[in-house]
C-alpha cells in the first residue's frame, strides 16, 4: 500500500457538556464539574470536567459512585438544548472547510479534507485552523487528530487529550501503534482484549506480528478487521450522510399535559410534519413509535408495525393515536412520534386487497379513510402548495389557529 497522506481529521470536544457549563458559568472554572442524573434516581455521569476526572470520575459512571470518589462534585442536570446549539455551531465550522463531515455524536466528527489544500492549506493547517476557530467562536476546546485513516485519526485525537493536536504521518504509523495496548484498537472490547491477552497479545505491535490467518481463525471476521487495523489499514470513508434509520419529532411541554385531546392534536401536528419530512427525503416508514414521558420522568414507548410502509400523515397519525390509547392516563411532560423501518419510495410496494382490514387505514371512530391512491394524490397537491407558500399555507382544520409546535427532531441528534 502506498503511503497515503494524512487527510482525515477527527475532532473531539474536550469534556463537551461540562465545558459548556463552565463556559456559561465561569465561577465553576477549576471545580470538579459533572453533568448527569441525580444519584438518588440512579443517575449516571454523562460528562466530567478534567478537574473531576482527576478524582477518577468517568462518564457512564453511576453518579452515586462519582460522589464517593469526589465528595465536592458539582453535579449539573443536562441541558441538551444548549449542547445541541453549541454542536451546531461547531459542525457549521467544519462544513466551512469541507463538505465531507461525518458527525459521530454531538461533540465528535470525522472530516475528510483531501482536495481542500488549494483553498485552506494541508490537513495539518486545516486542523489547526479549525481548532482555533472553535475556540474563538464557541469558547470551547477541541482535540484534533490528523491521520491517513479514520481509525488512526481517532486514535491521534485521543492520544493527546485534552487540548490536543496530534498528527500521525504514514511513516510513523508503526512507531505510534506498536506500544499501544490492544484495547485501543477500534472493535476490541474488554472481552476480546482478555482473549488476546491470554494468547500473549498485549500491544497492537503484538497483534500486528501475528499471522493474519491465525487471528482470523481465532476471532472470525472481526479477526480480519482488528488485524487490518493493527496494521493501520482502514479503508472506511468519511460518509457525510449516513443512512437515516428513523425520522421523528418530540416535544417537551412547558407544562405537563393530561388532556388527551390536547395530546392528540400535538401528535397530529408531529405526524403531519414527520410525514412531510419523509416525503421530502423520498422515504417511507413502516414502524411507528410513540414516546411519552410522564411528569415523574417515567418514559414509555409503544410501537406498531404497519402492513405497508407509508409517508402519509393521516396513516401515521391513526397509528400514533391508537398507541396513545394504550398508555395509561397521567400528566405528560413530553410526547413524540417516530417512524422507522425506512425505505426508499422507489422501492416497489405490494398493494393489498382488503384495505378495510388494515386498522391503520381506518379513520377516527372507525370512519373509512380515502384510499391510499386518493390520499397520495391529495397530499401531492398539498405539498406543492406548502412548498410554494410556506408550511402553514395548508393545515388540518383541527390545527387551525394553533401555533405550529416546534418539535426537536428526535432522530437527528446532529445538526
Amino acid at each position: 500500500m502506498p503511503p497515503s497522506l494524512p487527510t482525515i481529521l477527527h475532532v473531539d470536544m474536550d469534556a463537551f457538556y461540562a465545558s459548556i457549563e463552565i463556559r456559561d458559568n465561569p465561577s465553576l472554572a477549576g471545580l470538579p464539574v459533572c453533568v448527569g442524573g441525580p444519584s438518588d434516581q440512579r443517575g449516571v455521569i454523562s460528562a466530567a470536567s478534567y478537574a473531576a476526572r482527576k478524582f477518577g470520575v468517568r462518564s457512564a459512571m453511576p453518579t452515586a459512585e462519582a460522589r464517593r470518589l469526589c465528595p465536592d462534585l458539582v453535579l449539573l442536570p443536562p441541558d441538551f438544548e444548549r449542547y445541541t446549539k453549541a454542536s451546531r455551531e461547531i459542525m457549521a465550522i467544519f462544513r466551512n472547510y469541507t463538505p465531507l463531515v461525518e458527525p459521530l455524536s454531538l461533540d465528535e466528527a470525522f472530516l475528510d479534507v483531501s482536495g481542500c489544500e488549494r483553498l485552506f492549506g494541508d490537513a495539518v493547517e486545516i486542523g489547526r485552523a479549525i481548532k482555533r476557530e472553535i475556540l474563538s467562536k464557541t469558547g470551547l476546546v477541541a482535540s484534533v487528530g490528523v491521520a491517513p485513516s479514520k481509525f488512526l485519526a481517532k486514535l491521534a485525537s485521543d492520544l493527546d487529550k485534552p487540548d490536543g493536536f496530534r498528527v500521525i504521518q504514514p511513516d510513523e504509523v508503526r512507531s505510534v501503534l506498536d506500544p499501544l495496548p490492544v484495547s485501543k484498537v477500534f472493535g476490541v472490547g474488554p472481552r476480546t482484549a482478555k482473549r488476546l491477552e491470554s494468547l500473549g497479545v498485549m500491544t497492537i505491535g503484538d497483534l500486528a506480528q501475528r499471522e493474519r490467518r491465525d487471528v482470523v481463525r481465532e476471532f472470525g471476521a472481526s479477526g480480519a478487521w482488528i488485524h487490518d487495523l493493527a496494521h493501520g489499514i482502514d479503508t472506511r470513508r468519511v460518509t457525510p450522510r449516513r443512512e437515516e434509520k428513523s425520522h421523528g419529532m418530540e416535544r417537551t411541554f412547558p407544562q405537563d399535559v393530561t388532556d388527551r385531546e390536547e395530546l392528540r392534536l400535538a401528535l397530529l401536528s408531529f405526524c403531519e410534519d414527520v410525514a412531510f419530512g419523509l416525503r421530502d427525503k423520498g422515504l417511507r416508514g413502516r414502524t411507528v413509535t410513540l414516546k411519552a414521558r410522564y411528569g415523574d420522568f417515567t418514559t414509555l414507548t409503544r410501537t406498531k408495525t404497519l402492513t405497508a410502509p407509508t409517508n402519509l400523515g393521516p396513516r401515521i397519525f391513526t397509528t400514533a393515536r391508537e398507541l396513545l390509547d394504550k398508555i395509561p392516563p397521567g400528566p405528560l411532560r413530553l410526547i413524540g412520534v417516530q417512524v422507522s423501518g425506512l425505505s426508499d419510495v422507489r422501492v416497489a410496494v405490494q398493494e393489498s386487497m382488503f384495505g378495510d382490514l388494515e386498522p391503520e387505514l381506518r379513520g377516527p371512530r372507525g370512519t373509512a379513510q380515502p384510499s391510499r391512491a386518493k390520499l397520495e394524490r391529495a397530499t401531492e397537491g398539498i405539498d406543492k402548495l406548502r412548498k410554494k407558500f410556506g408550511r402553514t399555507a395548508v393545515v388540518r382544520a383541527s390545527l387551525l389557529g394553533r401555533d405550529r409546535l416546534e418539535g426537536r427532531d428526535g432522530s437527528d441528534a446532529t445538526p
Binding site: R346, V347, A348, V349, Q350, E351, S352, M353, F354, D356
Partner: protein, 380 residues
C-alpha cells in the same frame, strides 16, 4: 381383539389415518391411532383435534381364485386397541406376508405376519378422544375428482404466514347448485366453483375450512370418479368417501369480503399463451430482487414487454405476442404470485383484465376459475 387382515388393505388405511396424526403433540395420546374391530368391519381412527379421520375396512371373506380373489378381512374377536400410529404403519408396511394378524393380550397388541411379529404397548382406549361419525345427513354430493381439482385450484392462495386467522383456510359455500371455494392471503385470491348435487338445501352458510383439512380431504379421495358426500355442520365440515369419513373443525372468523375485489368491468383485456407467459415471466423474474419482487408488464397493441428489475443486479427484458387492443397499458406484479396461478392454469390461453396499474389484475385460468392478483406499485 383378534383380527386377520390383508396387509395392503391395512397399510393403506393406516397410511391415510397417519396423515392427521401429529408427530409431536402436547397430548401424547394423539400420537396413537385407535383400532376398532366390530363384527362387520375394522375401523382405524386418528385425530389431531383439528381434523379427524375414521377409516373403515369392511369384512370380506377372501372368496375367489387368483387375481379375482377377495382380500381377507376377518374379525375373530371384536375389540379395541390404541397403538402408536407411526410405528404401527412402519411395521405393517415393512412386513412381507400378505396377511397380518392383530391380537391384544392384556396391555399389549401383537402384530404378526408369518414368522415376523412385534408387540406394541397399548394405551387405555378411554383416553382416546371421541371421533365424530357422519350420520345420515350429507348436504351435498360431488364427484371426488371435481372436489380435488377445486381444492388444487384455490388452496395455494390461502395465507401461510401467521396473523390473519380467517385467511388460513379456504372458504366454502354452496349457492345455486354450485360449490364455490375461495382462498386469499390479502394480496392474491383464487376463486373457483363447480356443480354439485345439493340436497336438501341449495345454500349453505359460508364455512372456512383450514387449508390442512382441505388437503387431507383430497388425500382420502382415492378414486376420482367416486361420488363423495360433504356435510357442513355448525363447527365442522365432514367428507365421506367409500372408505373414510374425515372431519375438519371450521375456522371461527370473518372471511374478508372478497366479492368487492373481483373487478366487474375492465378497460384492459389481454389474452396470452399461458405457457409462453410462464416462460417469459420466469425468465425476467430471475433478475428481480429477493424483496418486493416485481415484474413490470408493458402492453402495446398485440405486444407485451416484461421487465424484471433489481437495484443490485440489473434489468431483464423479454417480449411476446399477445392479443391486446388498447393503445397502451402498464401494470406490475410479484412474479411468484402470477406463476403460482399459471401453474394451475387449465387452458392454453390465459386472460388478464385490469383497469389501472394500481387496481387488481384478474386472470382467468379456466372455466369458473379466476385468480386475482394485486399489483405492485412503484412511485416514479
Amino acid at each position: 381383539m383378534k383380527v386377520i387382515c390383508d396387509r395392503e388393505k391395512l397399510r393403506e388405511g393406516l397410511a391415510v389415518v397417519n396423515n392427521v396424526i401429529p408427530s409431536k403433540s402436547t397430548k401424547p395420546v394423539l400420537e396413537n391411532l385407535c383400532l376398532v374391530a366390530t363384527v362387520d368391519a375394522i375401523e382405524i381412527l386418528g385425530t389431531d383435534l383439528e381434523c379427524s379421520v375414521r377409516y373403515r375396512i369392511p369384512v370380506s371373506h377372501g372368496r375367489g381364485e387368483g387375481d379375482l380373489k377377495e382380500p381377507v378381512v376377518r374379525v375373530e374377536e371384536p375389540g379395541i386397541a390404541v397403538v402408536p400410529s407411526r410405528v404401527t404403519l412402519d411395521f405393517v408396511r415393512d412386513l412381507s406376508g400378505s396377511e397380518v394378524t392383530l391380537t391384544t393380550h392384556d396391555q399389549n397388541c401383537v402384530i404378526q405376519s408369518g414368522e415376523d411379529k412385534c408387540e406394541l404397548v397399548t394405551v387405555d382406549p378411554d383416553e382416546f378422544p371421541v371421533i365424530s361419525s357422519f350420520g345420515d345427513t350429507p348436504t351435498l354430493s360431488i364427484q371426488g375428482g371435481n372436489f380435488t381439482r377445486l381444492v388444487n385450484r384455490t388452496a395455494f392462495a390461502a395465507a401461510r404466514e401467521a396473523g390473519r386467522y380467517a385467511m388460513h383456510g379456504v372458504l366454502a359455500e354452496v349457492e345455486d347448485g354450485m360449490l364455490k371455494l375461495v382462498a386469499t392471503d390479502g394480496r392474491r385470491l383464487a376463486y373457483s366453483s363447480v356443480e354439485c348435487q345439493s340436497r336438501p338445501v341449495d345454500r349453505t352458510r359460508p364455512a372456512i375450512v383450514p387449508t390442512k383439512g382441505m388437503q387431507l380431504f383430497c388425500r382420502v379421495i382415492g378414486d376420482p370418479l367416486e361420488q363423495v358426500q360433504l356435510h357442513f355442520g355448525e363447527n365442522q365440515v365432514g367428507l365421506k368417501t367409500k372408505n373414510a369419513e374425515i372431519f375438519a373443525r371450521l375456522i371461527d372468523g370473518e372471511f374478508p369480503r372478497y366479492a368487492a375485489v373481483i373487478p366487474k368491468e375492465s378497460s384492459n383485456y389481454v389474452e396470452a399463451d399461458a405457457e409462453m407467459l410462464t416462460r417469459k415471466l420466469r425468465l425476467v423474474a430471475n433478475v428481480t430482487g429477493t424483496e418486493a419482487r416485481a415484474v413490470r408488464m408493458r402492453l402495446t397493441p398485440d405486444n407485451l414487454e416484461l421487465f424484471g428489475q433489481s437495484v443490485g443486479r440489473g434489468e431483464a427484458h423479454a417480449r411476446m405476442d399477445v392479443a391486446f387492443k388498447n393503445a397502451s397499458a402498464e401494470i406490475a406484479f410479484n412474479p411468484d404470485f402470477v406463476l403460482e396461478g399459471l401453474k394451475s392454469c387449465e387452458s392454453g390461453i390465459v386472460k388478464l383484465e385490469f383497469n389501472e396499474k394500481t387496481s387488481p389484475g384478474k386472470f382467468t385460468l379456466g372455466e369458473n376459475y379466476i385468480y386475482i392478483v394485486m399489483p405492485i406499485t412503484v412511485d416514479a
